[in-house]
């Protein structure tokens, strides 16, 4: 499988990364190089094989339902590029 330039733009949009017209052909080439590198996997017989979900046999730990966190607005907002009245601010989102 390989990608064309329209697909490159679509992926870039899904990943929310702006790409310039001149970047697109380069990305197309690089992505296709990687895709052809992984191409051989298509020939591996994986019939009946379970995809890996956890590499170490472990049970998911559960935590007790106790409030142990929060009330740290100043820490949550400490690195915010733009904040006001303890809210994060972004350009207006129109639904």
């Amino acid at each position: 499988m390989s990608v064309d330039q329209a697909t490159v733009r679509r992926i870039a949009y899904l990943a929310r990364i702006a790409v310039t017209d001149e970047e697109v052909p380069h990305l197309e080439g690089e992505i296709n190089a990687i895709l052809s590198f992984v191409e051989a996997l298509g020939a591996v017989d994986v019939a009946g094989v379970e995809p890996m979900t956890s590499v170490i046999p472990m049970k998911l730990p559960l935590r007790a339902d106790v409030v142990t966190d929060g009330e740290i607005e100043s820490l949550v907002l400490a690195n915010a590029p733009l904040a006001e009245d303890d809210f994060f601010l972004v350009p207006k989102v129109i639904e």
Binding site: I11, A18, L41, I94
Partner: protein
């Protein structure tokens, strides 16, 4: 006393406890060495004030007989680890100005045990790279001079664009370079596909990627969650064992962190390896293999045999699928893990007329070329219509890779010996500019270990004909890092102590 930076971590520890040296003296010596070595670009942030404060506090604790396992020992921290109030950007521009209000579990445990923080170490951006050339802060130079280079040539290159100097490997290039150049006693590093072991091999240092789950990932900037593991790079096997003991351990804040006591790894050093069954996997003997690497591998086999180990030929038939499968799984996870860098809550924010433009511009400006590429590949392999063909298939292959290892371990194999890298270190600017895959091939021997979640240790094993360091890799059973330290120590001893390069850099 002679230069205290010549001491290994274990030696420095003993000297501090014996009061032959103070942590303040030791720390000052390192701060001086760091200042002189700025040209290498191993540290991106130095924290001298913090270091000196920590050193004084350590001296006080040593005075009171309350020394922790790493009391007063200056170390460097890979920029991947959140350090409270101190620059933490995983060497990415997208985290511009980010100072966490929290501390990673691994570094918190190091400080708990008394270690002193010298600063933050350079790395490939988000740990994506094998040469430390993708860092937003520029490449790191290895302290090992290229063959036949004079010190003056080296200094000239440092002052220019560093081209021609050797890479320290990556992604933990700053860690490897700093340890090798004696700019810290040891360093934290991290390994997703070989990022501890490959730089260790390139710089004549020892690195271990422990079993997945051995160290907490809490506070470590994530690259690929199912593959990322913390680990140390140190000057020798013993130092790595001492570091790992402090770094490892259960953490309720990481659901994938294993709940089991951490053994005294240092106690494994010097233990007899008589009767240990060591597997040598035939699939690692690649077509067109560098004869020097092949020879070194054979040498390693002989050393272990001479120390009483039984050597067996083994087969890991799915080995060759590991690297391609890795380049599906790791970018897929990365594409999702890096979605949080959106310019809203922290880090870089490029203005946009609307939220979509803000996202796109921020992420385009904030991510370097390699990160953008991997995020896009990851996005593609997860997208509708391709998920099963790529991602699910790769995870099935991962099951097969793990099964290969389980089979040989079930047959009684205690550890596996392999090369660490396909070659010695290459030059800055030499690889990967035309074809990203060329760079990816560096991880061909290391990546299987991440895919199977196993521990892997790289110890220096000798020098190439051109005088560059080469390492060998030992792969162990899950949570059996102790055996790797025992074997690594034997190998290290057989190879003879690696003499690190003399400072030519300043």
């Amino acid at each position: 006393m002679t230069d205290p930076t010549a001491l290994t971590l274990a030696e420095a520890r003993d000297a501090l406890v014996a009061r032959k040296l103070s942590s303040l003296e030791l720390t000052q010596a390192y701060l001086g060495a760091m200042e002189r070595a700025r040209g290498l670009n191993a540290y991106i942030v130095e924290t001298p004030d913090q270091a000196l404060d920590m050193a004084r506090a350590s001296d006080a604790r040593i005075g009171k007989g309350e020394a922790g396992a790493l009391e007063g020992l200056p170390i460097g921290v890979k920029d991947l680890y959140a350090t409270k109030g101190v620059h933490t950007q995983a060497c990415s521009h997208v985290l511009d100005g980010f100072k966490p209000t929290y501390e990673s579990t691994v570094t918190a445990q190091l400080w708990r045990d008394g270690a002193v923080m010298l600063g933050k170490l350079n790395m490939d951006e988000f740990a994506m790279g094998s040469s430390n050339e993708t860092s937003y802060y520029g490449p790191v130079a290895s302290p090992w001079l290229p063959p036949n280079w004079s010190a003056a040539q080296g200094r000239a290159a440092l002052a220019a664009d560093k081209r021609g100097l050797l890479v320290p490997g990556g992604s933990s290039g700053g860690s490897a370079s700093a340890v090798s150049a004696r700019l810290c006693l040891a360093a934290t590093a991290s390994d997703t596909g070989g990022s501890i072991r490959q730089p260790a091999a390139f710089t004549g240092t020892c690195g271990i990627k422990p079993t997945y789950g051995r160290c907490s990932r809490y506070g470590m900037v994530a690259f690929a969650s199912s593959l990322d593991q913390a680990g140390p790079i140190a000057r020798n096997v013993r130092d790595a064992a001492i570091m790992l003991r402090s770094m490892a351990g259960h953490d309720p804040k990481d659901s994938t962190c294993y709940d089991a006591p951490v053994p005294d790894y240092e106690a494994a050093i010097g233990r007899s390896i008589k009767g240990f069954k060591i597997g040598v996997p035939r699939e690692y003997r690649l077509d067109g293999m560098n004869p020097e690497i092949e020879k070194l591998w054979g040498q390693g086999v002989e050393w272990l045999r001479a120390a009483g180990a039984d050597i067996v030929d083994i087969s890991l038939p799915n080995t060759r699928h590991a690297l391609p499968a890795y380049y599906i799984v790791a970018p897929a996870e990365a594409s999702s893990n890096l979605a949080r860098y959106d310019g809203v809550r922290y880090g870089l924010r490029e203005p946009g007329n609307d939220i979509a433009e803000l996202y796109e511009k921020t992420r385009a400006a904030g991510f370097g070329a390699e990160v953008r590429r991997r995020v896009m590949i990851g996005t593609y392999v997860l997208s509708a219509g391709y998920y099963d063909a790529y991602y699910v298939r790769a995870q099935k292959i991962r099951t097969l890779i793990k099964r290969d290892f389980e089979t040989v371990f079930a047959d009684g194999v205690d550890a596996i010996l392999t090369p660490a890298t396909p070659s010695a270190a290459f030059g800055i600017g030499e690889k990967g500019s035309a074809d990203p895959v060329e760079m990816y091939l560096n991880d061909v021997f290391t990546v299987t270990v991440n895919m199977a979640g196993l521990p892997g240790l790289v110890a220096p094993a000798g020098l190439s004909a051109e005088g560059l360091p080469l390492g060998l890799q030992l792969i162990g059973r899950p949570f059996d890092e102790g055996t790797l330290f025992s074997l690594g120590a034997v190998m290290e001893q057989s190879a003879g102590r690696m003499s690190l390069p003399q400072p030519w850099w300043g």
